[in-house]
Amino acid sequence: LPDDFDWRDHGAVGPVKNQGSCGSCWSFSASGALEGANYLATGKMDVLSEQQMVDCDHECDSSEPDSCDAGCNGGLMTNAFSYLLKSGGLESEKDYPYTGRDGACKFDKSKIVASVQNFSVVSVDEDQIAANLVKHGPLAIGINAAYMQTYIGGVSCPYICGRHLDHGVLLVGYGASGFAPIRLKDKAYWIIKNSWGENWGEHGYYKICRGSNVRNKCGVDSMVSTVTAIHTSKE
């Protein structure tokens, strides 16, 4: 594995988006993962629709029937991948634009630009997470967002952070040496794409420390899923 890796340098990450006042983070995490996978499958960056999932995806977790995708009231990325397998895929952002509100489903199958071939959940192992990131593209992950409300920049590495996951984001890379002044040493970190616009964090991104010896990573390694895409050409 390389010491540093960032899918933004390889064209597999779309622009930073803004979910607005809507609990649809899960759909941004899922669309970001599929945008990356689709880029790897087709060589083309198609910016994909979250609103399609907000409006049309009501898939439930097979092991927890109460955990269903519910638009602005929340959802789960693996449920979204199941929905995408069943529905055929995602339209582009342009064809099905984001409104930030729950609405009636207007999905048009003829406008699908990216389709899921398969998805997997990755074990709680930093090396496996990094390997899956490098091999399959950006990964959909869950995180505890307690420190994100006040985050401005730098490598977040809290002494205390819960592992309860409440936010869906996209893991796009990692670095070996982000300087942590208080600890007087370089820290390895994950690079996370958020969906709160470019004027949050580091141009829309969050850095959190990584390493098997690091505790309190806000559960960042505990819910990781990867997706692969198939090429869909328009008739």
Binding site: G23, C72, S120, S123, Q128, G142, L165, R183, C209, S225
Partner: protein
């Protein structure tokens, strides 16, 4: 000072220092005025304005706690600084699952990722 739109890079980073609560209290109104202008916030009436100022003050204290607990990052005023933690969770977070369910899936699902080689 200049106002900036939601899409622009903020010109000034409002961070929290290491001063005491009195100092934070004294500067809070100034920080709040700057926050309102910077993020184009508007409130229904004077009562709402006063309530949001009180929330903002609490969030300044919270940001300072976060700065102490998370010293390698920079914490301070963000566009969410007028929201209570509950409002923030309700409005901007939306992951609906328990980690237990996810681990159960990881334990025996057809969707478990194969182990990849990581050396060389």
């Amino acid at each position: 000072a200049a106002s900036v739109s939601d899409e622009e890079e903020p010109l000034i980073r409002q961070v929290v220092g290491g001063g005491d609560d009195n100092e934070l209290e004294l500067n809070a109104e100034h920080h709040f005025a700057s926050f309102v202008q910077r993020f184009g916030k508007s409130y229904r009436d004077a009562d709402e304005h006063a309530y949001r100022l009180s929330v903002f003050k609490a969030n300044l204290r919270r940001a300072r706690r976060h700065q102490l607990l998370d010293p390698s990052a920079e914490h301070g005023v963000t566009k969410f600084s007028d929201l209570t933690p509950a409002e923030f969770r309700r409005t901007y977070l939306g992951l609906r699952t328990s980690r237990r369910a996810f681990l159960r899936e990881l334990g025996g699902s057809a969707h478990e990722a194969p182990v990849l080689p990581t050396d060389g």
